[in-house]
């Protein structure tokens, strides 16, 4: 294992342990995420009954809602504030004296915090499985590709979060940026309502953004709403976003770091 990988792993582990220190966060994540999932289930059950809407029936909607819950738990439970706070309170000065690539270190920490949401996600999915008995993946291959698409959520979520955190160098505030990001993500990922329910132009707009890969991509692969070639295309697009945002992050940081103005002490 190279030195850089050892540092990555150490940062992932440390970030995971830091989240472990706050066990109530898991319980809260489960209560909030699980609660939202239950509300969504009740709403879709009421809305769909025995019919279908834009190709979704109650059966597929149960699986869709659970997939949305997993994506939301991974993304909303991660440590974005930790990253933003260090820029805003000047601790970035300390980070910049360390012999590690700033972005890579933040990515390792962020992914560690995403991994720490696993207990919440697993408990929520198990509970939902027992309560709602959703259908399995369309095919075993679709199941495997769904897992690949979920794996890509890690770098993708980091890319979007990191860019939004870097905006703090200019705005000097994070809350508004976070709200905007979360609103865009909730809406354009299909987490609130499936993109298929939206008018064509809005769907086109959504697919021009990275957000659909948080719920819609794994859901449509899982449910077999796209064939294998379509699934691979979506995964390629998701990977391309992850890579593109990584390099965009590098570019923005190069400018942002010139804006570091840590006053006093």
């Amino acid at each position: 294992m190279s030195h850089a990988h050892a540092v990555d792993r150490a940062l992932v582990v440390v970030s995971f342990k830091r989240r472990l220190a706050y066990k109530s966060q898991w319980a809260l994540g489960l209560a909030l995420g699980g609660g939202s999932m239950l509300i969504a289930m009740a709403m879709w059950h009421n809305l769909l009954g025995s019919g279908t809407l834009a190709g979704y029936d109650w059966d597929s909607m149960r699986a869709y809602t659970i997939i949305g819950f997993v994506a939301a738990t991974m993304v909303f439970g991660a440590a974005d504030f930790q990253m933003a706070d260090r820029i805003l309170d000047g601790h970035i000065a300390v980070d910049l004296t360390k012999p590690v690539d700033f972005q890579r270190a933040r990515a390792a920490e962020y992914i560690g915090s995403m991994i720490s949401t696993a207990p919440t996600a697993v408990a929520g999915v198990l509970g939902a499985w027992l309560l709602f008995d959703p259908p399995g993946p369309a095919t075993p291959l679709a199941g495997a590709l769904t897992a690949v698409s979920f794996a890509l959520v890690f770098p993708l979520a980091f890319g979007i979060t990191y860019l939004s955190v870097l905006v703090c160098f200019w705005t000097k505030r994070y809350l508004g940026v976070m709200w905007l990001r979360e609103a865009l993500l909730s809406f354009f990922s299909g987490l609130m309502i499936p993109l298929a329910f939206m008018p064509g132009w809005l769907q086109t707009l959504a697919w021009a953004l990275p957000f659909p890969h948080f719920t819609t991509t794994p859901a449509v692969i899982y449910l077999g709403r796209v064939d294998t070639a379509g699934a691979l295309g979506l995964i390629a697009a998701e990977a391309a976003w992850a890579v593109g945002l990584w390099f965009l992050g590098r570019l923005v940081f190069r400018h942002a770091v010139k804006k570091v103005t840590v006053h006093g002490g």
Binding site: H3, A6, V7, A10, L11, V14, K17, R18, A21, Y22, G90, H91, A93, V94, L96, T97, K98, P99, V100, D101, V257, K258, V260, T261, V262, H263, G264, G265
Partner: protein, 332 residues
Amino acid sequence: MPILEARSLTKNFRRPDKASGFKGAVTHLMQRKYKNYTAVNGIDLSIEAGESVAYVGPNGAGKSTTVKLLTGILKPSEGTVRVMGRDPHAERIANAHDIGVLFGQRTQLWWDLPVEESLKLLKHMYGVSDADYRARIARFDALLDLGEFMPALARTLSLGQRMRADLACALIHDPKMVYLDEPTIGLDISVKDRLRAFLREMADDGTTLLLTSHDLADIEEVCERIVVIDKGAIAYDGPIRQLKAHYITTKTVHLFLEGPADVPVLAEKFPDYDWAAGEAPSEVVVTYESNRFTTAEVLGSLTSRLAPRDLSLSEPSIEDVIRRLYAGELTE
């Protein structure tokens, strides 16, 4: 070749120019105005390997900004810095391997983890071998008593413990060049003493040190050279010894007489000295030039002719000199 060399180092910042109150806030929203100010103004600084340099100045003089420029955190607006031949901002990661930094006001410990975990993470970051890590931790433990709080969560440490742990973090990779920005701020006297002893040992071992502090005892005990900065520019750069010899040219005797002191009469009697009234009616303060008169001469003439009840002798401290340098009363 110097280990650190800064030439015409300058840093300008932009600050919002906002009037106070609601009106000021609204006006600033409509019409943003900024003021440029220069935090560091054309500093030339050269430090040889093994030197221990104190970098002092009043609040807002530009000390911390200089440290951030020298460590690569900030990009200079003008001028150059070279640390071991590298540009610390452009070659930040390579530079970071060779330097150790302590910001007294910002911890580098991971707040919600035991101290030991922070140190282990830094061990990975700097690629410190297991054997070196163990040896250094043992040394820090002997000098700083780390053992007692290694398993404690960083957020539960007292300020003194936190600073000791932070110092270990800054030095775990045995850096060649160490920057300490107010390492004793807020510490009690016993922790300060321990920290100073540790820093002195480091300096004696040949580590190059740049220390900023408002506590001049830190400086006198640890450093040989002092750089005084004021309003972003260097006001003095030289050995501490020389600063004292150059500027501390007077000494003071406080005399306590039997009756009330009559200053004009005394001044007439001893025209070579400066006379001033003391705090008590019977107290009088005599100042004399230490290069013209020896203390024995002065005390001899005063005691034989005035027969004071008591007396005390004081010498201006480095603190007085620096206070006068800040006030612009002294020039090089």
